[in-house]
């Protein structure tokens, strides 16, 4: 290699390392008076609303708690991380969070798939994770004692909707579309089982990959399936697109979907086509309403349920730190010991699998571009 090139190379590499070195200098360690909680979720990309709501919910709770003196004088600090809703990036971020000893607990990871990717890493690092959205029931059935969940599992909502359709509305020929991910497959399975138990028939069973924007072939099948109702195990983007394209193609039916569609984006993307879509979600008590009102006032928009779950998770972690000590192990033990804690979701208790217990569900319908309560 000639002189010019090796000099150029040396210069370039030196510059690179200096730049990175300067950047790295910015990473400070945490003080001992802080309880740092990592909030992880999609902060960029098309699911960014969810990540944003995670952070907002957690921060609102942290402010309240800190204003009341914190946890034995220690301040709760929220640090956000972007997993881009991508399983590989999640593994990277989880490792990063795990090896940062100033972080005492973590919450988030939006989808069941990303939670699965992260779970072994949290366990290996002995860092408690509180799930606040991922709904595959099997997450808390893996025997991983570092994973807790404050949000509901998807079997409950799916079963409640199945009961509604067959038993109360008398719709027995049902078509289903589901996202081919852990969340979609799981929710779909519970829905189908319950429908069949109730005596209904599934006339169409269509999985689709995440990122699908073109639902043409599924919609054509739907047109010819003779369905009285359609159930979507989907998120807001795909559900909105599917319904919009179906309606434009001339499909006329009743639409039902999982609670994951509850967001401002759903009516925005779906437009007129999604008026009348019905979904089930956990019953909201007074605490929930109070936090929702606070959010509305602060941000001028409707909160998704995830704001509330993040809020409750923060409350739970704070209480756990109070009871078990401000360490990773202490927080884990403290979380396990929680019984009827007063939180944003109401009284919080975990079952033997560290899953929060929910019992009541209610329905919502999209009307005038908003989700409103609905009874059959």
């Amino acid at each position: 290699m000639n002189i010019v090139r090796s000099r150029l190379l040396a210069l370039v590499l030196a510059a690179a390392f200096i730049l990175v070195g300067c950047d790295i200098g910015g990473l400070a360690g945490a003080g001992g008076d802080q309880i740092k909680i990592a909030v992880v979720g999609p902060m960029s990309g098309d699911a960014a609303t969810y990540g944003q709501d995670f952070v907002r919910g957690a921060q609102m709770a942290a402010e309240k708690i800190n204003a009341a003196g914190g946890v034995d004088g220690k301040e709760i600090v929220i640090e956000q991380f972007d997993d881009r809703n991508d399983t590989t990036e999640t593994a990277n971020i989880a490792q990063r969070i795990g090896s940062d000893s100033s972080i005492l607990a973590s919450m988030g990871h939006f989808t069941s798939s990303t939670v699965y990717a992260a779970m072994p890493i949290y366990k290996a690092n002995r860092l408690p994770l509180v799930v606040i959205s991922a709904s595959d029931p099997k997450i808390t059935q893996q025997g991983n004692e570092w994973v807790f969940r404050v949000s509901p599992t998807n079997d409950l909502g799916a079963q409640a909707t199945a009961d509604l359709l067959v038993q109360q509305l008398g719709l027995t020929r049902i078509a289903t579309f589901y996202l081919n991910t852990d969340f979609g497959k799981s929710e779909h399975q519970y829905f189908v089982e319950r429908v069949q138990q109730n005596g209904g028939t599934i006339v169409l069973d269509e999985p689709y990959q995440p990122d699908t924007k073109d639902f043409t072939s599924g919609i054509i099948k739907l047109k010819n399936a003779g369905a009285e109702a359609v159930y979507l195990s989907s998120y807001y983007n795909d559900a909105a697109l599917l319904i919009k394209q179906a309606v434009a193609s001339g499909v006329q039916t009743r639409w039902f979907a999982s609670a994951a569609i509850i967001s401002n984006q759903f009516p925005e993307v779906g437009g007129e086509a999604v008026e009348g879509v019905i979904t089930a979600r956990v019953a909201q008590g007074e605490n929930w309403e109070a936090v929702a009102a606070e959010y509305r006032q602060k941000y001028g928009a409707e909160p998704t349920p995830f704001v509330i779950y993040a809020y409750a998770a923060t409350q739970a972690i704070a209480e756990a730190a109070r009871q078990g000590g401000a360490t990773r192990d202490g927080i884990r033990q403290g979380l396990e010991a929680i019984e009827n804690l007063d939180t944003a979701i109401g009284p919080l208790s975990f079952d033997q699998n560290r899953q929060a217990i929910y019992t009541e569900f209610e329905f919502l319908i999209v009307q005038d571009g908003q989700f409103k309560p609905w009874t059959p």
């Binding site: 370039v12 070195g21 490792q95 699965y116 072994p120």
Partner: protein, 346 residues
């Protein structure tokens, strides 16, 4: 006919020493993580360069071989409890064999047709991984892969995995260098310019291209094995076209048909998004702009031959595109030809 002689890796020693010492001098695990990732990217870039720079073939499926290595490692480790010393060679060989099998029917294709075929292969590999739920768990991926273990030593920290990556990189450099300097390598370079002429003097064009392709796939697969044991989780994202494109950028920025070029490119383009992280949303915009800027100033790459700012011209030359020739057929071959003064290697 040139006698085959081994070219010593003399110019590289100081950099190797620096590479070994750096993570010992700087204790920050964040830097170690970056170095580990950069090492893997460097292996991928160096192996891609064998096909692209020396072979003159645009391969758009390289990340797919990375994926074969990673997925196979994950499956062997999770279902059969296979240790690192088994998964690494198996993954590398599987990728190499896939490369070999695939290269044979397509290597008579010209330029963009070859690129298209490799793109299709890469996409098929990703789609299989994404859709074959029963084996690969589809979009959910395969979590819980054990760390690499070598004779009792477990690669737990970022630094440990960096050293593994560095070892693989050194191996790749040595092997590829030997290949390039050997009669096979020289034949390969001859085919890059004009394969008809090369064939006319007795070069078995098919054979050398297949060898290069398989060898490149071998190292990509090996890198995949390292990846699986390091991240402990495998899913489709790192094996998609976007990653291959990033690798192309690394090779181009560093300088094609040089050994250190792709390494420089890999290090820079791995560090760049991190350096820019403070800019949040505009980070990748700046990344793209910098990419364009570097290529504009030095189209031959940072370590390519040529004047310092060879791209700094006021206007295009009067004679248009001297690199294009008249017949459509041979114009396809001159896809990645560097300037005619470019030597075969560093």
């Amino acid at each position: 006919m040139r006698r085959w002689r081994a070219t010593p890796i003399r110019p590289g020693w100081p950099f190797l020493v620096l590479a070994i010492l750096l993570p010992l001098l700087v204790q920050d695990p964040f830097l170690h993580r970056l170095l580990a990732v950069a090492a893997l990217e460097a292996v991928l870039a160096v192996s891609l360069n064998l096909v692209l720079g020396y072979g003159g073939l645009i391969s758009l499926g390289h990340a797919g071989f990375y994926g074969i290595g990673a997925y196979l490692t994950a499956l062997l480790a999770l279902h059969l409890g296979a240790p690192f010393l088994v998964t690494l060679p198996v993954a590398a060989l599987a990728a190499a064999i896939t490369g070999w099998i695939f290269a044979r029917p397509i290597l008579h294709l010209r330029g963009h047709y070859f690129a298209m075929a490799t793109l299709a292969l890469g996409e098929i590999l990703v789609l299989v991984a994404y859709n074959w739920d029963a084996v690969t768990r589809g979009p959910s991926g395969l979590p819980g892969i054990p760390r690499a273990e070598l004779f009792g030593w477990v690669a737990t920290t970022h630094r440990d995995n960096y050293y593994l990556g560095l070892a693989l990189l050194v191996l790749a450099i040595v092997v590829i260098r030997r290949f390039v300097d050997s009669p096979f390598g020289l034949s390969l370079i001859a085919t890059r310019g004009d394969d008809q002429a090369a064939a006319s003097i007795g070069t078995d064009v098919a054979r050398v291209r297949t060898m290069a392709f398989a060898l490149a796939a071998f190292f990509a697969g090996a890198a995949g094995a390292l990846y699986a044991h390091y991240i402990t989780f495998v899913s489709v994202e790192p094996f998609q076209l976007t990653h291959t494109i990033a690798l192309l950028a690394m090779v181009a920025v560093g300088g094609i048909a040089t050994i250190p070029g792709p390494i420089v490119g890999a290090v820079l383009l791995t560090l760049l998004p991190e350096v820019l992280r403070g800019l949040a949303d505009l980070r990748m915009v700046l990344y793209g702009i910098l990419l364009m800027l570097v290529i504009w100033l030095r189209p031959q790459g940072l370590l390519g031959q040529g004047r310092l700012f060879a791209g700094w011209r006021g206007r295009p030359p009067a004679s248009l595109v001297p690199r294009r020739v008249t017949a459509e057929a041979s114009s396809e071959e001159r896809q990645t030809q560097p300037s005619t003064r470019e030597e075969a290697g560093a």
